[in-house]
């Protein structure tokens, strides 16, 4: 009888534990998706200015961008005039660059993936991998509560064993209220900080308050940074798939 009770208890608790585990996972995924959708939505149009400062040069750029789903992104440079019309198309795993001066579309090869994207502190590979976070990492909520007078949630993303990522872990801190991201930190394998993404400058964008400034700082060069400032954001607008094809690059 006792035995039976034990078994019963086991039966009852185990699925219960599992669902709890699942809901936790679901919640994690849910929040991360919401964070992800903050700028993207189903589709989006944005005007962003980019400021890059390195030891050797600094540059300012304004560009407009469209996105559809997670896999399709298109950027076009507006300023400076010299580079106006230069486009970057990210479609699934591929990145194409179109240079209006030469009227050429280049598909980035594997060797160019790790190169810097338009002179910034982001690589072409970052653009591709950014959409694959869910595939490459296991996410869990590592802290939830008050920190620095803010109600926050901290996620720790650990790369899956066979995921081709260089990082040791990612840590993402968001505001519990509204799921607004604050900081994203990339650690190398020795768990030393490699680079930091800081989100700030809350502003009305696309109908609600969102952080308008994203600043990327490499840990080994604290004086350098790349800053993206959203000037305009429209979400869930009708965009055709054809816009994100290689052929459309030339016609724009």
């Amino acid at each position: 009888m006792k035995m039976l009770l034990c078994l019963l208890a086991l039966f009852l608790t185990s699925p219960c534990l599992a669902t709890e585990d699942n809901t936790l996972k679901e919640r994690t995924r849910d929040i991360l998706n919401k964070v992800d959708d903050l700028w993207r939505g189903e589709s989006s149009y944005a005007v962003v200015s980019m400021q890059v400062k390195t030891e050797h040069y600094s540059r300012n750029m304004r560009m407009e961008g469209w996105s559809k789903g997670k896999e399709k992104t298109l950027f076009r440079v507006l300023e400076p005039l010299r580079e106006k019309g230069t486009m970057t198309l990210k479609s699934d795993n591929h990145i194409f660059t179109y240079l209006p001066k030469t009227d050429r579309t280049i598909r980035l090869t594997s060797g160019m993936m790790m190169g810097s994207w338009m002179g910034s502190h982001l690589t072409n590979d970052d653009l591709v991998k950014e959409a694959r976070l869910e595939e490459d990492y296991d996410a869990e909520i590592s802290f939830e509560g008050m920190r620095d007078n803010q109600q926050i949630i901290e996620f720790t993303l650990t790369p899956k064993a066979d995921a081709p990522v260089v990082w040791g872990k990612l840590s993402l801190i968001i505001l519990a209220d509204g799921y607004t991201p604050l900081v994203e930190m990339y650690y190398d394998e020795d768990m030393a900080l490699a680079r930091t993404f800081i989100f700030s400058g809350m502003k009305m964008l696309g109908g609600r308050e969102r952080p308008a400034i994203l600043r990327v700082t490499p840990a080994d060069k604290p004086d350098e940074f790349t800053e993206f400032i959203y000037e305009k954001l429209e979400l869930n607008i009708p965009l055709s798939d054809a816009m994100f094809s290689k052929a459309s690059l030339k016609n724009r």
């Binding site: 594997s110 993936m113 590979d125 081709p164 260089v166 190398d188 490699a194 080994d220």
Partner: protein
């Protein structure tokens, strides 16, 4: 006839002059042995070294791979082909490999480089320079594991150590960009900056999976042979295999044109300096023989007067040259033997003048000056010097036959 004896006695009538000339011939032999011997040794060493850097003495690769080495080109059924090649006479080793370009990335940096995907079961320190130069850690053990062995300069640039993660990104068989991770099991340091800062060894089965290759598809079969000089013959016999008809078979000269160029250039320089040395020796012999002919004008006149034909006189002087050459060669062998012995076993250490990068034409060179002669080279040197001595004797001999008897008898 008595001509031989006469000539032999003639050359020893002036012992000192003959000896000096013989020594100059001997010295020529010594110089020639030094040049040729160091060439034979260094070139063989460079070629063998180049062969162990990945491509072998003879390389079997996909058609047109040489012109455009992209990873969509590949050999199929490499295992059978490898076995057939291995069964050929003179083949020391045949290994299946995939070579390609890749981007290596760590959290800190990403660097473009090249990889050789290998099966650890077939790679040994003597057929793979990179394994011979391991300085830390060890070779990965599984061909489908996640190991990687990288150059220590590359590791330095990536800021990684043994056990750390490296992501390699490359273009697969269908032109797609693919990446995979590997953990460093070993570091090598060859001394060639190009290799230490660029190259990595990866497990072949993992790379095949990443690239979308079948299990017996690869881009290269590297064949190591026992004597590098037979590379052309080996190429022909491999190309004749029915399995190899859809593949390009190249010797190291085609697979490593920069190395072949360096060697050809060096050889040409070597030939020119040998030619100049030969010319000097020939002029020396010519001088001696001409002197001895001119000072024997009267003697030749008498010989002709008593009935010796100009042809016999010509032959007499030629035989004298012959004996002089023989004496010179024997002397040459006597003085060269200890020198050659020294160069063969000890050599002259030039590491002080080389700096820290002992590479030349992209391969590692032993900083010790050593000499090893091929049997053909020995014969070529001896025959060459001998022929030179005979050639130098031609003009004096011709002069001897043209001595006018009456005039020469009138003069003292």
């Amino acid at each position: 006839m008595k001509l031989n004896q006469l000539a032999w006695r003639n050359i020893w009538r002036r012992k000192r002059r003959t000896l000096i000339t013989a020594f100059s011939i001997g010295f020529g032999v010594m110089l020639s042995v030094t040049f040729t011997g160091s060439g034979d040794y260094t070139y063989t060493q460079m070629i063998d070294m180049g062969a162990s850097m990945g491509m072998g003495h003879v390389t079997v690769e996909p058609l047109d791979y040489q012109l455009k080495p992209t990873l969509d080109k590949r050999l199929s059924e490499t295992d059978t082909l490898r076995q057939q090649i291995f069964a050929l006479d003179g083949v020391v080793d045949a290994t299946v490999r995939i070579t390609g370009q890749a981007m290596f990335a760590s959290a800190r940096k990403s660097i473009g480089g090249a990889f050789i995907a290998v099966d650890p079961a077939f790679e040994k320190p003597d057929n793979n320079l990179l394994l011979r130069s391991l300085v830390e850690g060890e070779m990965f053990a599984e061909k489908d594991g996640r190991g990687i062995v990288i150059g220590s300069k590359l590791a330095e640039k990536l800021h990684v150590k043994i056990g750390k993660k490296v992501v390699y990104t490359t273009t697969d068989a269908h032109g797609e960009i693919v990446s995979n991770i590997a953990r460093i099991t070993g570091l090598f340091l060859t001394g060639i900056d190009m290799v230490d800062g660029n190259m990595a060894l990866l497990p072949i089965a993992s790379v095949q999976k990443t690239l979308g290759y079948a299990a017996d598809e690869a881009s290269v079969i590297a064949v190591i042979i026992s004597d590098q000089r037979h590379a052309e013959a080996m190429r022909d016999s491999i190309a004749a295999l029915p399995q190899a008809k859809n593949a390009a078979v190249l010797t190291w000269k085609k697979a490593q044109p920069d190395l072949a160029g360096v060697i050809a250039f060096d050889k040409a320089g070597n030939y020119i300096s040998q030619f100049l040395v030969g010319l000097l020796i020939a002029v020396g012999i010519l001088n001696t023989m001409l002197m001895s002919v001119l000072e024997r004008n009267r003697e030749f006149g008498v010989m002709m007067a008593v009935g010796m034909s100009p042809g016999t006189l010509f032959r007499l002087v030629m035989v004298e040259s012959f004996w002089l050459a023989v004496v010179g060669l024997i002397l040459g062998i006597i003085i060269t033997a200890p020198w050659y012995y020294y160069l063969y076993y000890t050599g002259i250490d030039l590491s002080g003048t080389f700096g820290s990068d002992f590479s030349y034409g992209g391969v590692l060179v032993d900083p010790v000056f050593k000499a090893r002669l091929f049997r053909e080279s020995i014969i070529a040197i001896l025959a060459g010097v001998f022929l030179l001595a005979l050639l130098a004797g031609l003009y004096p001999a011709w002069r001897a036959g043209r001595v006018p008897p009456i005039e020469s008898l009138k003069t003292i």
